[in-house]
């Protein structure tokens, strides 16, 4: 066993001196830095967009609440009017509405049956 140990210690693999190795490493690290900064930039943009959306939502909410508070309407009569008009529309045109719904259902069935199964 001693011979094997001596053989291994005497015959360590030798690597060729390669000055380009560090240069290549540096080049790759620069690329990593580029990707990192791009990811950071996009993350920052995402954060800004989220804050803007939150602020806009808040402002619209406040505005809606203010309008509802300062200009109250008779909600019940307004809603009743809308519901009534929808009911009338459905009653008058139900024979025309059923046909596109049935066509859509058939189309959906055809599309789904032809769609390949993805695993």
């Amino acid at each position: 066993m001693k011979e094997i140990e001596d053989f291994l210690r005497e015959n360590k693999p030798q690597v060729k001196k390669d000055p380009t190795f560090i240069l290549e490493t540096r080049r790759r690290l620069e690329q990593v830095e580029g990707i990192k900064s791009e990811v950071d930039r996009q993350r920052h943009h995402g954060r800004v967009a989220l804050i803007v959306a939150l602020c806009a939502g808040l402002a619209i909410g406040i505005a809606a609440a203010a309008i509802a508070f300062f200009y109250p309407v008779d909600a019940q009569s307004a809603t009743e009017g809308i519901v009534q008009s929808i009911r009338l529309f459905l009653q008058n045109y139900r024979q025309y509405l059923l046909m596109p719904i049935a066509l859509l259902a058939i189309l959906l069935g055809v599309v789904l049956s032809k769609k390949p199964v993805q695993i």
Binding site: M1, E3, I4, E5, F7, L8, R9, N11, K12, P13, Q14, V15, K16, K17, D18, F21, I22, E24, T25, R26, R28, L29, V32, E33
Partner: protein
């Protein structure tokens, strides 16, 4: 860790790291250097998580070993070009070349863990404790891998 600091640490470790991977890749220098570069990129990306609990080199070697294992899993490595051993630097004599060829051919026949343990212990002079940390196995297992590796090498190397 800044890029410059990382590069300066890598500069010190590049030769042992490449040698370790060269042994794992059975003398395929191009593949070894490719894995080394991948390992360095991976190490740089993860350098924020390096807490200094182990030596930088131990940490780096562990990443390199994992990269090598990933590479083995991704694609079965091509037959190692053991003939490259003839063109090794500083191997002027054909006797030396023959011994390198013999070494790489024998290493090629070892299981990955035995090969890694042998390479770290005999080529890199790492302690059992360090090898244990790099290969993520208990010290007893490292000793067992070394013993098995020696036995296997003995069968393939004519002295």
């Amino acid at each position: 860790m800044t890029q410059e600091r990382f590069i300066s640490q890598v500069r010190e470790q590049q030769e042992p790291l490449r040698r370790f991977l060269l042994a794992l890749c059975n003398g395929d220098a191009a593949l070894a250097d490719d894995i080394a570069q991948d390992a360095l990129v991976r190490a740089y990306v993860a350098s924020g998580s390096f807490l200094g609990l182990s030596k930088f080199s131990t940490w780096l070697f562990r990443i390199a070993y994992n990269c090598y294992i990933d590479n083995c899993r991704k694609a079965k490595p091509e037959k190692a070009p053991v003939e490259e051993a003839y063109n090794l630097p500083g191997t002027d004599t054909s006797d030396k070349s023959f011994r390198y060829q013999q070494l790489y051919q024998a290493l090629e026949k070892l299981p990955e863990k035995e090969k890694a343990a042998i390479a770290l212990f005999y080529f890199e002079d790492r302690s059992i404790k360090e090898i244990s940390a790099i290969l993520d196995m208990p010290a007893g297992t490292v000793k067992y891998q070394l013993s098995m590796g020696r036995n296997h090498l003995k069968q393939h190397i004519q002295l």
